[in-house]
Symmetry: C2
Subunit: 248 residues, 2 copies
């Protein structure tokens, strides 16, 4: 039996029960996924995603103050009183090593919540794309590439990353283990193919995407470039729905 | 000011208020849009879309029996006691001329219902694609290309038609009247570009899409071919939300 490979362009496009027993990859490229991967690669002990600012403060207050940092964003910006915003470049080793990051962003958290029935929940981005492909290939069962989107809107940057993961997974899939019929899969494959023909085209696509336009507006051009870098890192964070913590 | 051009891959991806004052094109390629266009081009007086089978019988019972036909489908097939299924090839001039068609399909009707706040609601398909492009170009205000999908699922055949309309509209748009930034628009443009390179590729895409697979399973290959024919007809049906009737 082949393994179904689904893409969901926004989390609202799948029923929470549909992912039960499957492997989910959460893609929130600009910027939560990219930032979480940076934090963990730079030595953070764990990232604890929470839904809102109040809950973030409550969760943080239960941990040793020296061990915890508050991170995340609202409307793209630093939350008053927080240590870090959602800038992957700010999660350097000297800042985050050994710390627990209590982290709140609107879209990534909603996607995780909706996917929690899955057997395995991974955090993917361009910065760990090949690692995600290898990890997913080594699992069994249905695969769901979940684009976080932005407030229920489809975003091209997440769709492109889903397309990239799917493209490389199917390239690797000499034995045709994967069922390729999903229509959303077809759409993201087409887009990935068109928009990664050369680096200038890819850069233009990332900057013109919904998340990219927001970043450009806020002056976060370097963050887009970082998020659009392939395979900076080799690890794939996973979310443990029991402990509520993302680790590598 | 430029005119926003939006694509919605399923009707659930827009809020009903969002289309207020705009022009909506409903795309339910396999097969409701294609069938409705055939019916009206072949002389039907009007098509009255209704949500369910019971309502179809009630609406039909209010009309002169000689003037009315019951059409539509459930699970792709003829509804017991109905005159016609959802096969565009069955809506020939000798069958439909002068008749009102009371018509029920799951997806097209839901899309119409959600779009009813729009200033203008048009029915589009490959069979009248260039006519849709001309008609939309001649209007003003935001444009929403609404893919009907199937039971809330994104379907490639509707996405491809949205891509085709958008592609030709933007080709025509020398003065850059349209705002091209919508991310769903980008996705369907990529797909249209990849999947219409030659007629064999296009045919394969249409047959492998969600709606196409259903038609293949039911033995409706000729209907797919018909739905995949560009510009058979020159008119664009429109839905009058006040009378509840689609006419040309």
């Amino acid at each position: 039996m082949t393994r179904p490979l689904f893409v969901h362009l926004v989390p609202q496009l799948f029923d929470p029960e549909q992912v039960q027993g499957g492997v989910v990859v959460i893609l929130d490229i600009l910027r939560a996924s990219t930032t979480i991967i940076h934090a963990l690669e730079n030595g953070a002990q764990g990232v604890i995603p929470v839904a809102d600012v109040e809950q973030a403060r409550v969760v943080a207050s239960r941990l040793t103050p020296e061990q915890v940092l508050l991170g995340g964003e609202r409307d793209g910006l630093l939350i008053p009183g927080f240590d870090l915003d959602n800038n992957p470049l700010a999660y350097t080793r000297d800042v985050v090593a050994g710390k627990q990051i209590v982290f709140t962003t609107t879209n990534g958290t909603a996607a995780l919540e909706r996917a929690k029935a899955a057997r395995q929940i991974l955090i993917g981005a361009f910065v760990n794309l090949s690692a995600v492909v290898d990890k997913v290939y080594a699992t069994t069962g249905p695969v769901h590439l979940v684009c976080a989107g932005t407030r229920g809107k489809v975003t091209l940057e997440d769709a492109l990353c889903a397309g990239g993961i799917a493209w490389k997974l199917l390239e690797k899939d000499q034995q045709e283990l994967f069922d390729r019929t999903d229509d959303q899969l077809q759409l993201v494959l087409d887009s990935y193919r068109n928009r990664t023909k050369d680096s200038a085209t890819f850069r233009r696509a990332m900057r013109s995407s919904f998340g990219g336009r927001n970043c450009v507006r806020l002056g976060f051009d370097l963050q887009i470039d970082r998020a659009a870098t392939f395979d900076l890192f080799k690890s794939v964070p996973s979310f443990d729905a029991t402990t509520g913590i993302i680790t590598i």
